[in-house]
């Protein structure tokens, strides 16, 4: 199976690897997937007072496509508002990385991860 240049680039040089302080009120954390299914993504966002995502970090257990999908989405959400980030579709990720059909679920997981991180952030900051 030949993977696209974009995918290999994100796999070999993943962006924004790491962790943010999960206890901070500015940080939302999403942890999705399951080890038994072969992929787990942890995606964190740091949101400014004005609702802009200032920073994003990820760690992923999964195949190359899963690592690339999560790396790509951290790159995309930085600088976006929470609402804009929430509207990112898995198909955009799949297209950008040219994921083969059997790997589409990796992009779905990345979309789930950002939505889970946003939900966690909103839950923490309920007024």
């Amino acid at each position: 199976m030949a993977y696209s240049k974009n995918l290999i680039d994100h796999y070999e040089n993943p962006r924004n690897v790491g962790s943010l302080d999960k206890d901070s009120n500015e940080v939302g954390t999403g942890l999705v997937g399951a080890p038994a299914c072969g992929d787990v993504m942890k995606l964190q966002i740091k949101v400014s007072d004005s609702g802009i995502i200032e920073d994003a970090k990820f760690k992923t257990f999964g195949c190359g496509s899963a690592i690339a999908s999560s790396s790509l989405i951290t790159e995309w959400v930085k600088g976006k508002s929470v609402d804009e980030a929430h509207s990112i579709k898995n198909t955009e990720i799949a297209n950008h990385l040219a994921l083969p059909p059997v790997k589409i679920h990796c992009s779905v997981l990345a979309e789930d991860a950002i939505k889970a991180a946003i939900a966690d952030y909103k839950e923490k900051n309920k007024k």
Binding site: Y11, V17, S19, G33, P35, A36, G38, K59, F61, C63
Partner: protein
């Protein structure tokens, strides 16, 4: 460009140059049909085939008349299981095999149960990948025709207790077939000492050509099988079709080489295996060997790299040609049925790779592989949320994961 290194000797092996040399004349000047009885062209080809047959027989201590050439181990397994069932099926209709057998054995047995009114018992394996002999004994009934258990496992490299299985089968008067595609040349095989009635052999797993194999069929006491293909009745009526002298010669030469070099090769592979395993384990924690630690051939290392998904590791070590137990590379996404049968947890099964060592693997290859694997394991663990959680003391089994 980094040079690719081959570590997939269980998938197939390169043809030994000595084997190629022996085969070449049979693609050119010696072109007779080995079944032509009335001229020297036929006689010459026939003589070559018969010498090859002797070489195959010798490595398993059989008589040359007990060797049937086939297209490979898949055909041999089909012919043994279905052919025996066809011949004896009206008297006995029960077959015993094991859950970790090769697909062609499992599918042949399934064919018998679905189309030929057979009962099939699939023996479980213990955590070390070996069958429990007591379970085997218990499973045998007066209706049992055949026990089919492989010699050396293709995916995890464990060696089944063939001699003990053979003793049980002899005592209970049940035929014993063994798929030895991965065993010939790797372990000592003796059809008489081990009471084996039928044995499948493959050319391309032992530095011979693809497209040729053999089936050993015992003559004393005689084991009968029905042929699968109708035709000219070649191979003592059990396998019709003109033999390819080149392929037969190739298989014979591969066997001849092993009958003198097996011990030396095993010693070399043992050394390389230890170099590889100790090299990785001394630099990385939580590397698990799947299958028995001691009852295994040295050329097969099936390892689980906890907290790293197998395919991502394969991508990272892409100049090393290995095979994945994680199956994330295949269409199914299901981890290996073999590792599952061993009771390897799914999360660990997803982290498994099979690294195969063989005749042409060098110490330098292994050192390069260790360096590459260790650096990728470290890189991918730094990327893994599971590794991070495990380091922080989080019990991963206590988390309520959302299966998807």
């Amino acid at each position: 460009m980094i040079k690719n290194i081959y570590f997939d000797y269980q998938a197939t092996t390169p043809v030994d140059p000595r084997v190629i040399d022996k085969m070449l004349p049979y693609f050119g000047e010696i072109y007779g049909n080995p079944h032509s009885r009335n001229h020297s062209y036929g006689w010459e080809a026939e003589e070559a085939v018969e010498i090859a047959r002797e070489n195959v027989a010798k490595i398993i201590n059989a008589n040359p008349k007990e060797i049937i050439f086939t297209s490979g181990a898949t055909e041999s397994n089909n012919l043994a299981i279905k052919g025996l069932a066809e011949f004896y099926g009206d008297k006995k209709n029960h077959v015993i095999t094991c859950v970790t057998e090769h697909k062609c054995v499992l599918e042949s047995c399934r064919f018998l149960s679905e189309k030929k009114n057979f009962d099939v018992t699939y023996l479980p394996v213990k955590a070390d990948g070996l069958i429990d002999l007591k379970e085997l004994e218990k499973a045998i009934t007066p209706k049992t025709l055949l026990v089919s258990i492989m010699g050396v496992h293709n995916e995890i490299g464990v060696i089944q207790p063939l001699k003990e299985i053979g003793e049980i089968c002899k005592e209970k008067e049940v035929f014993f077939h063994t798929d030895c595609a991965q065993a010939v040349g790797k372990i000592l095989l003796d059809v008489n000492l081990m009471n084996i009635d039928l044995m499948s052999i493959s050319g391309h797993k032992m530095y011979g050509p693809k497209g040729v194999g053999a089936l050993y069929v015992r003559r004393k006491p005689r084991v009968r099988i029905s042929a699968m293909m109708s035709g000219g009745g070649q191979e003592r009526g059990m396998r019709s079709g003109t033999l390819s002298p080149a392929l037969c010669v190739g298989l014979g030469e591969a066997c001849r080489i092993y009958s003198t070099e097996m011990d030396a090769e095993n010693k070399k592979l043992m050394k390389l295996k230890n170099l590889l395993l100790n090299g990785i384990r001394s630099q990385c924690d939580e590397i698990y060997l799947n299958g028995s630690e001691d009852q295994r051939v040295p050329g097969n290392l099936n390892l689980s790299f906890a907290y790293i998904e197998g395919e991502s590791l394969m991508m990272g070590i892409k100049n090393l040609a290995v095979s994945s137990g994680s199956a994330c590379t295949s269409a199914s996404l299901e981890p290996s049925y073999v590792l599952k049968a061993l009771g390897v947890q799914e999360e660990l099964a997803h982290t498994s790779l099979r690294i195969g060592l063989g005749r042409f693997t060098t110490e330098d290859d292994v050192n390069k592989a260790v360096d590459k694997i260790v650096s990728e394991v470290k890189r991918l663990r730094a990327l893994s949320p599971l590794w991070e959680m495990a380091q922080d003391g989080v019990d991963l089994t206590k988390i309520n994961w959302a299966a998807h």
